[in-house]
Symmetry: C2
Subunit: 261 residues, 2 copies
């Protein structure tokens, strides 16, 4: 099977011009089929503040009211997405920027939570596999903004980590998929403040062992649990590491590579 890299970049990379520039050059020169999923960064928060749209957080999650949805649609699907695509084109990497509504790429439903109304937040129902395959077969890379839709005309703000995971899982039957979470840290760290303590390989057995000994930073647990779910769904490997080491991450020479035994 052909290889496919599904690469998520975090907001900290988008906010830092030098990091973004270096990442986009590496992404453009990455061989094989590839999909970039980007988060939002501080731009949406800044624009909401300039427009005096109050931002409400519950348990660290942003509540997406109608005005906030407008802001994130403008910033994520407009400004960030189109600038990334234009810059990839300048590096000779033909790419197309999509949100979930485009070509019905990702259909979702408004989150239905018993206690919290998250507003216009989407939980993913289905990935349009034929659309992704068709674009990739034309050697077009896909740049995905973290906005989906419900097929009833409603756009929905959707977690970019989850989008990357669902795309990787959805395409795992058709490609040899590596799912790469790139951010500002060197990988999964034994000491969150020391990039030298990166765990190079993580198997389910080793992960259980680390969890039993309370050696995994709590904030990483959901990401890692999701990584093993992705592997169980056919994704070949999940790699977590620093955005400016993309080439080495894909080669498995840097970062944390998560694999089933």
């Amino acid at each position: 099977m052909e290889t496919l890299s599904v690469i998520k970049i975090g907001g900290n990379i988008i906010d830092n011009e030098a990091s973004l520039s270096s990442f986009l050059k590496s992404f453009a020169s990455t061989p094989g089929k590839k999909i970039l999923v980007h988060g939002g960064g501080k731009l949406a928060t800044k624009l909401a503040s300039q427009l005096e749209i109050p931002q409400q957080l519950v348990d660290g999650r942003r509540i997406t009211d109608a005005d906030t949805l407008k802001v994130v649609t403008m910033v994520y699907a407009g400004y960030i997405n189109k600038n990334i695509v234009a810059r990839l084109q300048s590096h000779g990497c033909n790419s197309i920027g999509l949100c979930g509504a485009d070509g019905n790429a990702i259909q979702a439903h408004k989150r239905n939570h018993p206690n919290v109304d998250y507003g216009f937040v989407g939980d993913i129902d289905i990935i349009n596999v034929p659309l992704f395959k068709n674009l990739l077969s034309q050697d077009i890379s896909i740049v995905m903004a973290p906005i989906t839709h419900d097929k009833n005309g409603q756009l929905l703000n959707t977690n970019a980590d989850t989008i990357a995971q669902e795309i990787a899982k959805g395409l795992a039957a058709h490609y040899d998929v590596s799912l790469i979470y790139s951010f500002e840290k060197a990988g999964v760290l034994l000491d969150a403040n020391d990039n030298e303590t990166v765990i190079r390989f993580l198997t389910p057995g080793y992960y259980s062992e680390l969890k039993d000994k309370n050696l995994v930073f709590a904030g990483m647990l959901p990401k890692l649990d999701n990584a093993f779910v992705a592997l169980d769904s056919g994704v070949t490997k999940v790699i977590i590491g620093q955005a400016d080491q993309l080439e080495q991450l894909i080669a498995g020479n840097q970062g944390t590579t998560i694999i089933n035994e």
Copy 2:
């Protein structure tokens, strides 16, 4: 040859929720291949004003400085484009929203004017015909935002009328193309204030006659001159008329149909 409708909607339609809603329903039910090109409307001006970005006009044209480019990218390629796509999906019309950078759909260069620096305004160089053909062949309608790129990483603000015309011309060798300019008036009018005076058919001979007699509203002259250029480039017909009469416009039962003798 298969038919293709390239339909431009003006800003007045986008600003009016009832007009837009009615138009999108008609667009969704229009048979054959179709491309929607949308302008901006008042939203970009409003956002620029909220963000205190001064807007400079020269001869009625907006100067696009870096901040204004950011605003129009957010509003045109983000908010308007993605909402139109989501709403078309809700009507069962599979569509994909693009700007010129996406898939290198439309390459342009920054306008080089001897006297006026228009800023980040693009004049079109080339339409990516294979990309448009591929998407249309999958029965995906294309929703085009009036933003292009220069292939060197720079997005450019570009006139939506011109985009519609260049797409129509570029695809004329492959489809039987109707180019439709839909706006709030009933067509080309002998009396600009009276929708009853619509000219139903306009040929080059009749157009010369009307021009000689000063019977064409000056503001319409560039649009009509462009329409005849499009016809000379292989576009089958150009239709100008009211957005809420889309079906009748395409059928040639309403509006002004411009044809070569």
